[in-house]
Symmetry: D2
Subunit: 218 residues, 4 copies
Amino acid sequence: MTKAIVLGGSRGIGKAISDSLKTIEIDVFAASKKDIDTSNLNSVKKFLEKNTQTDILILNTGGPEPKQFSTITEEDWNKYHNQLFLGFVTILQNIKINNGGYIFLITSSVIKEPNTKLIISSAYRAAFTEVFKVLSKEYAEKNINCINIAPGPINTDRTQEFFDNENDVKEFEKTLPMKRLGEPEEIGNFVKAIIENNIKYLSGVTINFDGANSNYIF
Amino acid sequence: MTKAIVLGGSRGIGKAISDSLKTIEIDVFAASKKDIDTSNLNSVKKFLEKNTQTDILILNTGGPEPKQFSTITEEDWNKYHNQLFLGFVTILQNIKINNGGYIFLITSSVIKEPNTKLIISSAYRAAFTEVFKVLSKEYAEKNINCINIAPGPINTDRTQEFFDNENDVKEFEKTLPMKRLGEPEEIGNFVKAIIENNIKYLSGVTINFDGANSNYIF
Amino acid sequence: MTKAIVLGGSRGIGKAISDSLKTIEIDVFAASKKDIDTSNLNSVKKFLEKNTQTDILILNTGGPEPKQFSTITEEDWNKYHNQLFLGFVTILQNIKINNGGYIFLITSSVIKEPNTKLIISSAYRAAFTEVFKVLSKEYAEKNINCINIAPGPINTDRTQEFFDNENDVKEFEKTLPMKRLGEPEEIGNFVKAIIENNIKYLSGVTINFDGANSNYIF
Amino acid sequence: MTKAIVLGGSRGIGKAISDSLKTIEIDVFAASKKDIDTSNLNSVKKFLEKNTQTDILILNTGGPEPKQFSTITEEDWNKYHNQLFLGFVTILQNIKINNGGYIFLITSSVIKEPNTKLIISSAYRAAFTEVFKVLSKEYAEKNINCINIAPGPINTDRTQEFFDNENDVKEFEKTLPMKRLGEPEEIGNFVKAIIENNIKYLSGVTINFDGANSNYIF
């Protein structure tokens, strides 16, 4: 049976992907922060001792709290360097993706249009996007796809926390082209659809998933 | 019943999309060059008299023969200006896309990494990509998605014609990360998968579909 | 003596470039619309009969009036196809740039972040940017540089016309990172500085010139 | 007198910038690795105790040795995270750039078109590019420019070391559009030219400096 590991699989986008993959008879390990804390390299290494191979891997993790550049500490940078970059690097250096498999990376639209409050996320997610792009060419030889999904504003707990109250969320939604946040299920279904339909020539790509919100031409 | 119009629907990628949509009970009009010749604005206008609305529209057309810049004539430029740009503009200015519908545009990876022999295609497909991006924000209000698929080397008659003989195709394939051309069916299935799964937050996006062949980071 | 032809050289950015080049002992032909109307291919061809070679060429022309997509006529598209694309193509197909020369193209920041009101400009300037990129590699062999400058909001008559009155301009300026429009002289001096300093390895590049206003990462 | 600090100012591109700025009566501190080692945060902090303000700052540092992804150690990642990212962050969090000043960042063309052997450089230089872009908007209010120069292959000791022998360098040069490496002096003169001409509306921009070598459209 096809096996999938979904990091950050207990909530938000990760949970939606897990739930969606379960509907097509994939053996899904929805890893929570108890299973693996990507901000802690020891936790990552322990996880890799038990999880040595998979068919499908979803590299997904929450981002940092919004913070202004001047107030970000050395500790903050190092923590999120681990969580958003080095943890994922360590996983890809050690786990075996079986031939014909898929790796999905969940980043954010802020890698293309960086946001002053999400500067940590912009920086380290962009850094890992570079690594992922380079590796996509190597994985291609084993028929393994690398797909980077860059979501815009999605209706998760995290997004809700961004705002002071529900009214602010509603005001924000009015400014979006589709007049609503994206639903985690839409990303979950997208991932499922690609796997289910055995679409293999889609690789080495960053896909904006933002309801026409970004302004850059590509 | 959901209705789809697929331009260039009688061969290559267009045919694959048509065939794929037919499997999910969509009423597909696979328009051939006899039905509409996008290089001829009169043909386009005639087509629009009979086809005034649709749920799904696939803007797809073959590109020009490879040609060096110095040898391209004014007539060539004007012909492909119609075929790759103004024909599509005229369609979007006149056809009604029903609320909740989808518009897929099939361009080419040469819009991001232009190719000296395909300079006409790079130019006018990029031009229409700009129009499509702007319109994606307006269509978003009607829950209509605009998705630009930018294929790399796909196994179509056109690609085969590019090469002198079958051996040259094989040599070219060895240079690709996946060691093969993409299959039109992969794009067909991708389009079908998005519609079938009712994925709506994917809009205003250009998706490389090139088997990890492009080198630009995004 | 080094010779420069500056299209649209009688006003705005073109005039500023002309004035700047004159300060460094370059023989500048600041071509006005009377000398060459790039929206009229016959005018372009006549110009090329008299002007067969140059050391420095500045491809510069005003853009169209702001217009909504639905109201743009076939005539509009064809006119600006000539003015913003085919006129420049015809020039580069026919004029000789002397070895070691420079070609500067003045486009707009809307090629990267298209604007709903400037959709014609976004489309055709992007199209020509593709051509210019491809040609930059061929010109490189003759030590001729191709530099595309993509200005943001610059203090020209055209920009002023965009707004109803001077107060609106001031309100707009407050929204800009530098709290002011750019001055044409800054672009003029930039072009001069590159030529004066004989900087040759800067080619095949699009340079945003927008006072930190754009949001895309690159 | 205008003051400039040039990091990595004792060799290569940094030295060329220092030399160029000295010709226009700027008080240049060409900092060598003895003065500040950006891979060592203590060294950075010590440097900042003595250097608390400047008019012009050149953020420049050598990159890592070429290394395949699978062989890069945790120590490597952390070292270059400091050298290419966190050191620069610490500097910008602590140094005062005087109003009307300039910050130049020297990165690499591999941030746009990542290179398998230079994966560390691609990752962390891209990460810092995100930070720099965000900050460009804040610095703009103080009339301070942020300009990111992304060089392609430049004729430095580092580039020479890349190749086994001089013949390999020559073979590589033949593959370049301009048939030669760029010279550090071209970058030095470019930086000088911008400052000398007081060009201020050029900010928040990444400028490819690669002799038409890159393939991405922008």
